[in-house]
Symmetry: C2
Subunit: 212 residues, 2 copies
């Protein structure tokens, strides 16, 4: 399969809508996070060098370096997530005749599910980082781009939540309890931090928009 990131936007959406389970919610979450990071980059670019925002220029430049990295990584995560799903399907198709085959198949399934959790965990953490950048930019960006900052935060939050749902649906298939309990605990922590950040940014953007 050719890389999803190289499909047209319309082609990707059509493929998402198809009966094939991959790409699915995990890839959509990664794209959401990428849209959030890209909008952070745009907001920074529309602020740097603009009259009236000189005080925030250094900070916007530092954030831009991070957001440009994050959108590229989150775009890659679109394909990583679809591949992780395919690997789970492949593992289930392995032969299970002899005891040796059963052991090998079972190990392959466990490894595939681990990756099917690690992939959305990566998307979740990167999306959370985008949300953190949004909160740092609040009140410091070109006022014509306030709505873009708001959409950035909402998109990043959807990337985070969507990825965590994909972690949650795959976690019960993993037998390693040390891994699952630590991943579940981390999911709860990221989710709570994301909730606080989206609340903060949404309120801030709303008050700036209504003050226009």
């Amino acid at each position: 399969m050719s890389a999803l990131k190289n499909k047209t936007v319309e082609g990707f959406v059509a493929e998402l809508a198809s009966s094939s389970p991959a790409p699915g919610g995990g890839s959509a979450a990664a794209l959401s996070g990428a849209l959030g990071a890209a909008l952070v980059s745009m907001v920074c670019r529309l602020t740097i060098g603009k009259k009236g925002y000189e005080t925030f220029e250094k900070e916007a430049e530092a954030i831009l370096v991070q957001s440009d990295l994050l959108w590229a990584e989150l775009v890659s995560a679109i394909d990583r997530d679809a591949e992780a799903f395919d690997r789970v399907m492949d593992a289930f198709r392995l032969p299970k005749g002899s005891d040796e085959e059963k052991t090998r198949r079972s190990a392959a399934i466990q490894a595939a599910f681990r990756e099917a959790c690690e992939s959305p965990r990566n998307t979740a953490l990167k999306s959370l980082e985008v949300l953190r950048l949004c909160s740092l930019l609040l009140g410091k960006v070109n006022e014509n781009a306030i709505s873009d900052l708001g959409v950035a935060a909402a998109s990043a939050h959807t990337g985070l939540l969507g990825a965590l749902m994909n972690v949650a649906i795959n976690l019960p298939s993993i037998k390693d309890v040390t891994y699952t309990s630590s991943a579940a605990e981390e999911s709860a922590r990221w989710r709570a931090e994301g909730e606080g950040l989206i609340d903060l940014v949404s309120r801030g953007v709303e008050s700036l928009l209504s003050g226009k």
Copy 2:
């Protein structure tokens, strides 16, 4: 400019990140809504014809017809929003030497801002419709696609909120008070309905995921 929907996913995200204000948050919101609608379609397709879901088949088929229409419309909205922004910029560049030119320029600016509100209003309403479909599907879809339904709802909600922020930033530039007050009132109504729906679906998806 070639249509945004024909760019590659990676190319679109890169263009979003660039210093050009269009595409911006409005186009990203439309894409979010489209991702939500496409995931609704996928969830329906993974439910129709599946053993154990015969009772919900008719309903899933009816919803699928709507979600397939909605994702196509929301994909078109990606370009419509960027074009609306460009039209505002073009209107500001019109000559303003004579009184006649001033009047013509002012009318063009008003018409352009009206379209810059109508475009995200269309995205908001379509995204809200996607959210309504998600709520109708709750508890009736293939259990392997529960997380996809959750990501669908989160994406549609971001499409709605993101579009409403774009309405809010453009509305103050419109002088027709009948239009602005009715649009503001409608925004508040859609937002409240969306809030209720995303709460409902998120709680439902979460409880289904934790029961797995």
